[in-house]
């Protein structure tokens, strides 16, 4: 079980990177670039709220899992 938990750590790290890419590159940057006022609020939320929490959180969680912080013993 501990091996699975650690191996899944890699999945969470990759998920964090993918989430960061999606939120910043696919969503925030085009919305900032559009210059429309209605796009600015979501772009700010993507960049400063969602990216640190989702991407950063999953990355750290994945690293902890990989290091065995959540192992049974």
């Amino acid at each position: 079980m501990n091996k699975i938990k650690r191996a899944m750590g890699i999945v969470w790290i990759l998920a964090g990177i993918a989430a960061g890419y999606y939120l910043l590159v696919s969503q925030a940057i085009p919305q900032f670039a559009s210059g429309k006022p209605e796009d600015t609020v979501p772009a700010i939320i993507y960049t400063f709220i969602l990216t640190p929490i989702i991407s950063g959180g999953l990355l750290v969680f994945g690293i902890y899992a990989l290091q065995g912080e959540y192992d049974e013993n």
Partner: protein, 474 residues
Amino acid sequence: MQHDPASTPVVDKKTLWKVIGASSLGTLIEWYDFYIFGSLAIIISTKFFPADNPTAAFLSTLATFAAGFVVRPFGALFFGRLGDMIGRKYTFMVTLLIMGLSTFAIGLIPGYQTIGFFAPLLVLILRLLQGLALGGEYGGAATYVAEYSEPNKRGLRTSWIQTTATFGLFISLIVIMVTKKSMSPEAFGEWGWRVPFLLSSIMVIVSYFIRRNMDESPLFKKAKAAGTTSSNPLKESFGKKYNFKFVLLALFGAAMGQGVVWYTGQFYALSYLQSVCKVDFDQTNYIIGAALLAGTGFFVVFGWLSDKIGRKPVMLAGMLLAIVFYRPIFDQIFQICQQSRAQQALALTDTVQLALPDIGKIIVLAFLLVLFVTMVYGPIAAFLVEMFPVKIRYTSMSLPYHIGNGIFGGLLPAIATYLVTKAQTANQVAVIAGQSISFDKPHLQGLWYPIILASVSFIIGLLYIKNKDLQFQE
């Protein structure tokens, strides 16, 4: 330190119910205050956010709604720190007053036509204050009740706090409906919508006086007397790896999935009926109100069950059911509305009035959504308080809860509505261009957001949460 039953302060049943009652009442009022804004989102958008396009106006309001939610984690940090340093009781007294005053003030703001740009700006500021207050309230109430509870009934006792969010929404819908029925539609649109906001002040005053006479949590008093409270709860909660890893686990393994299941079942269901299915506004409130009323008791049932079989199986079962059944349930709701629309020869953009049997069918489906909510949400307070020791409990449990619910859950209606609109637009473009449509069921596209997040949370919870993490620590 592991839980020692002998050291748990024993209080009599009367005191315990007083604690539960006073905590729940205040929390219920805060939820009521918070929800009337969301429930009146469409009307508020026309008053404070001028726009030619009603969808854009609606999204603007949802964005403001989200601003209220996004700020909640900051309230959790600010008031959580205070609660761990000076006490639970005084902290959630302050949050109650901030919430009450902000709500009352929203009811007094002149519209955009009267004071221009200041109108939406003031609404936004007060909405942010509401979010801050809510961020501090819930963790305090849950911690306070848990620290009074018997060790083997913590799920049951704290589940009463869990009912308040749904009751708050239910009461907000009832107050809005009664206010609407008591006056002409013109009067409601003109000034009547302010009444639910102004009424809040009476409830807050009552709750304030009830809470004022309550005693501080016995475990906090004990820690304070022993000098074991934290001088820097933020640093201890998030600066120490040992605690921070549990904060992350609580967030990704429980609160995230719980948040999206909760907001899908209660808020997106309402938004979906109004914006996607285009059901009559009053009928949507009746439908969701009835489903909430039928389902609310199950918070206590699943809180009690979590004392018997564990928090984890109950919560994960709720997430799994939601993942599997969301698309069939929402599709069925849509089909019922479409059939009714076809029978009345209405266009897709027309508002539909449903017949009674159809209302009954949708209430049953909405009840199932609420049932999933009760499974994930009923035990979550006990789950979170058991993860962290008394000296950093308020801070540590509040943050994952409010990120899970405020951010992952709170943004759900806006994101889901956006996904549906995007899919519908793509289909329209394809039809005009003579191509085959991209989305077979565009009305269900919004559900991918909660389904994916709940799935991630389910896997993390299943793999990483251990029952020994959930032993009450003093």
